[in-house]
């Protein structure tokens, strides 16, 4: 099976907007995707959650689009859309029936050019409440809901931009003013801080002309200086532990580590390690903790890639009732230690590669996903052609690459351990849970 290949062009308007065109007439659909080079790491102290709150404001109208009309127009055209905010970036995307391409481009251009003309206190206040309810829904009212915030807090020092969660704090959200939002727009939302990708059923010549017409007149912004160097060692200087008591029926142990940055070849090897450790029921952690020793309800291990100093490698094991939490943690750590000492077997590598190959084809099937990947590689590396090189990078990972990156990543003084313990009145078997007295070694 030949590796999937995406043909595209990559150009720049005089105002700095980079754009990628990848025609593919297979289905009568087209994806439009914009990445802005701004995420929660660009927020200043006291203004956490702004990048994400701002993303909501981007759907509240612009000079020629009224409140909520952006989404209404997309849906009435038979399209889907959304926006997401993460540590390093914010993206906005639409998938449209192909004859509606220009509508999506026009909507993106109008808010890039004229958002502030429609910004008002009422809409900001409304979306502030929506975002606070999003925070409650996604984190505060969820069992084990704060684990990712806790990992970020402990993995990154207070002055590092990954220390705080993208959703922000209630206090900072409450304090966000119109001036703050306007300032954020002027600083970060400009053609010279954006990448636009179009993938699917369209004529590239027409698209080029439309992009020039709609986006060409938008003024670039004097972007601030790049963020200061934030590279971090993988070591934390000592294991960090925190125990949390929550209304959960089963204890759960979360582990977190700093990992090589996104784009570093070592992160590919760590992702393959993740597949071998916890991908499916043949994986090492699942086999040992869930199937054989039967001490865990479920296990996970995964990598979140970031460009600003370090990525995160994280995992968890949910502890079966009646099992000592410390035993589960120890078994999990033994497996991390083993993969850092001994090369994975040839068969493990063959299986992981075969699954990566299938995933690579699956991840490029939809025009929407292709557009997002092209924007991502252009935003982070100015190299959208990485979309066609990534699979080979994964397949080139050797058993020694895996062992080496695991040895670098998993030493004891690199890890954060967050343990969720059931509240005394919330245990399954009348509070008889063992292991609730796990030592706090911090």
């Amino acid at each position: 099976m030949p590796a999937p290949h995406v043909d595209f062009t990559y150009d720049r308007l005089p105002n700095g907007l980079r754009y990628i065109l990848a025609p593919d007439p297979l289905a009568p659909v087209v994806a439009v995707n914009i990445w802005y080079g701004v995420g929660s790491r660009h927020e200043s102290p006291g203004k956490t959650g702004f990048a994400h709150l701002f993303e909501h404001v981007m759907f509240q109208g612009s000079a020629h689009v009224s409140k909520a009309e952006h989404i209404a127009l997309i849906q009435a055209a038979g399209g889907t859309m959304n926006g997401t905010t993460w540590l390093d970036r914010t993206n906005y995307f639409e998938t449209m029936p192909s004859h509606q391409l220009e509508l999506a481009l026009w909507l993106e251009a109008d808010r890039m050019a004229t958002l502030l003309e429609a910004l008002n206190q009422e809409n900001l206040d409304n979306q502030r409440e929506v975002v606070k309810n999003e925070k409650r829904w996604s984190y505060d009212n969820q069992p084990y809901g704060l684990w990712s915030h806790k990992l970020q807090e402990h993995l990154f020092p207070p002055d590092h931009p990954y220390h705080h969660p993208t959703i922000g704090s209630m206090e900072d959200l409450d304090a966000a003013s119109i001036d703050d939002v306007a300032g954020f727009f002027r600083t970060h939302y400009a053609p010279n801080n954006a990448v636009l990708s179009i993938v699917g059923d369209f004529d590239p010549g027409e698209a080029r002309a439309t992009i020039a017409r709609l986006f060409g007149p938008i003024e670039p912004a004097p972007l601030g200086p790049p963020l200061p160097e934030v590279a971090l060692p993988l070591s934390l200087g000592g294991e960090v532990r925190e125990d949390l008591v929550d209304r959960v029926p089963l204890a759960r142990v979360y582990l977190g580590y700093r990992a090589p940055v996104f784009g570093d070849r070592r992160l590919h090897a760590l992702e393959i390690a993740g597949q071998i450790l916890s991908g499916g029921k043949g994986s090492r952690l699942h086999r040992r903790l869930v199937r054989e020793e039967r001490i865990a309800q479920d296990v996970a291990f995964f990598v979140m890639g970031f460009v600003g100093g370090a990525s995160i490698a994280a995992g968890w094991a949910t502890v079966r009732p009646g099992v000592d939490v410390a035993r589960v943690e120890a078994a999990y750590l033994e497996e991390l230690d083993r993969i850092a000492r001994e090369p994975v077997t040839a068969d493990e590598l063959v299986r992981a590669r075969a699954l990566v190959e299938t995933d690579a084809v699956g991840a490029l099937q939809r025009v929407e996903d292709r557009a997002d990947q092209l924007s991502m590689y252009a935003t982070h590396f100015d190299q959208p052609d990485r979309i066609n090189r990534e699979l080979a990078e994964y397949l080139a990972v050797t058993a020694e690459d895996i062992r080496a990156v695991c040895a670098e990543t998993f030493p004891a003084d690199h890890r954060v351990v967050i343990t969720y313990l059931p509240a005394a009145d919330a245990t399954a078997d009348g509070g008889g849970l063992q292991g609730a007295g796990t030592e706090d070694a911090a």
Binding site: G78, S98, N126, S138, R247, L250, G280, G282
Partner: protein, 459 residues
């Protein structure tokens, strides 16, 4: 900053014609139906084996047996133990899956076209010759027991459980947990799973659907030796009649206490509709306007106007028999009562007034326009074709979808709302901090009212 060049709104181009991909139908020697849809340029092939038999006809005392049996299929076969089976599939870059729903039980695989034959062979082995080893079944049972505990601790899942318990009569399977409860799961042993599995070996109720770039793949030639020889191991009794009756005959409120909850999970609704109804298209448009679109009445009121929630939705879960109809939102605790009032108001308004022509046009254009987007890749195409077979719907059902939506009128929407939204017997389920909301909820007079404990150790 200026945007004069953006003052003119674009006009759409000419729509490219679209038809749901055509498929062929044939039968294996034993009568198993096969549907094949060739999708050139889609190398990731999807295959589903669907059996028209789900959890609804399980005896109540072994509720969850279908789900557990489906989960246990991969725990070992006559040729492989569990690890051997999963490793063989992984060497092909494939992951086998199986699950039971209310109305059907399915197994499937997604695999690159050049590895299709060996992957399907493994799938057949898993579906037809499982051994249900005692020890592994015990482990899955324990895991399911813990899963129920986790479901009760999760406010969203807790709300769904409480809602089904309130709206359905005790003898309805839809009142139960699909995967089984803490009282039924301990009784699910290997023998029970084997009996359940035997009831799936029924060519007359089985449909295999394959989609993807199948150039050079002899689908029937591969399937015939694997699935064409099986026959029922014993006469399979016809499924028992399914009861999907409403337990509610007047408005009522149930509060599930969740101490310290910063939001209330709200569910409002009643027993809804089955999939096979004459006014399916009108119901689809009505649901979109009420709570399906981003610009739906519920979302605009509760989110974009009031800021009570991250999202408010409503819809019908259409099953072989009447599934639930519900509106749902998670609202901050202090706004629980105002949010319920707005939600009830929108349900009433849907019945009491006509939708505007603009609302109708927007909803129809969305449903019609988004249809090709839904079927861009093989997985959803195969899923939809299997769904047709499981619901015993005609072959042209998907081809007729867009004209059917286009034909819906303002009067049709009004009629659908009047016929299918029953404001006189709405159940309101609130999972939240009763210490903070109970007094106001009771005072609001929504209906007969009770509060139940959080119950983190359900029976």
């Amino acid at each position: 900053m200026s945007g004069e060049h953006l003052a003119t709104r674009p006009t759409p181009g000419t729509p490219r014609s679209y038809e749901f991909p055509p498929f062929s139908r044939s039968r294996l020697a034993n009568g198993t139906e096969v549907r094949v849809v060739d999708l050139p340029g889609r190398p990731l092939v999807s295959l589903v084996v669907a059996v028209r038999r789900g959890a609804t006809d399980e005896p109540a005392e072994i509720a969850g047996v279908s789900a557990l049996a489906a989960r246990a299929l991969s725990e070992g076969t006559e040729r492989h133990d569990a690890i051997g089976l999963v490793e063989a599939a992984e060497r092909l870059g494939a992951q086998l899956h199986a699950s039971a729903g209310w109305d059907s039980t399915t197994g499937g695989v997604e695999v690159l076209a050049d590895r299709f034959a060996p992957a399907v062979e493994l799938l057949a082995e898993m579906m037809l010759t499982p051994t249900f080893p005692t020890s592994e079944v015990e482990r899955l049972r324990d895991q399911r027991m813990n899963e129920v505990l986790q479901a009760y601790a999760d406010p969203r899942r807790r709300a769904e459980i409480a809602f089904d318990e309130v709206i359905y009569t005790p003898d309805s399977p839809y009142r139960r947990l699909l995967g089984g409860s803490r009282s039924t799961v301990p009784g699910l042993d290997s023998a029970a799973l084997r009996v359940r599995h035997a009831s799936w070996i029924d060519p007359g109720r089985t449909t295999i659907v394959v989609g993807g770039d199948l150039a050079g793949t002899d689908v029937l030639g591969i399937l015939e030796p694997l699935f064409g020889g099986i026959s029922p191991v014993a006469p399979v009794p016809a499924p028992a009649p399914v009861i999907a009756a409403s337990a509610v005959d007047r408005p009522l409120v149930r509060v599930v206490h969740r101490p310290g909850a910063v939001q209330t999970e709200v569910r409002v609704g009643h027993v809804g509709l089955a999939r096979r109804i004459p006014d399916f298209h009108a119901v689809s448009v009505m649901s979109a306007i009420l709570g399906g679109l981003f610009g739906s009445r519920l979302n605009m009121r509760l989110r974009e106007e009031k800021g009570y929630t991250y999202g408010a939705h409503a819809g019908f879960d259409l099953r072989a028999h009447a599934g639930p109809f519900g509106a749902r939102a998670a609202v901050d605790t202090d706004n629980t009562v105002p949010a319920v009032i707005d939600l009830l108001g929108e349900l009433r308004r849907m019945r009491d007034t006509d939708v505007t022509p603009d609302e109708l046009r927007a909803a129809k254009d969305y449903l019609i326009g988004v249809f090709p987007l839904r079927f861009e890749t093989p997985g959803p195409v195969v899923g939809a074709l299997a769904g047709l077979a499981m619901n015993e719907l005609p072959d042209d059902e998907l081809a007729r979808y867009r004209p059917g939506i286009e034909a819906v009128t303002v009067a049709d929407v009004r009629s659908a709302a009047e016929t299918h939204i029953h404001v006189d017997r709405l159940a309101i389920v609130l999972v939240g901090d009763a210490d903070r909301i109970a007094t106001d909820v009771e005072a609001a007079g929504f209906g007969d009212y009770d509060v139940v404990a959080e119950d983190l150790a359900p029976g």
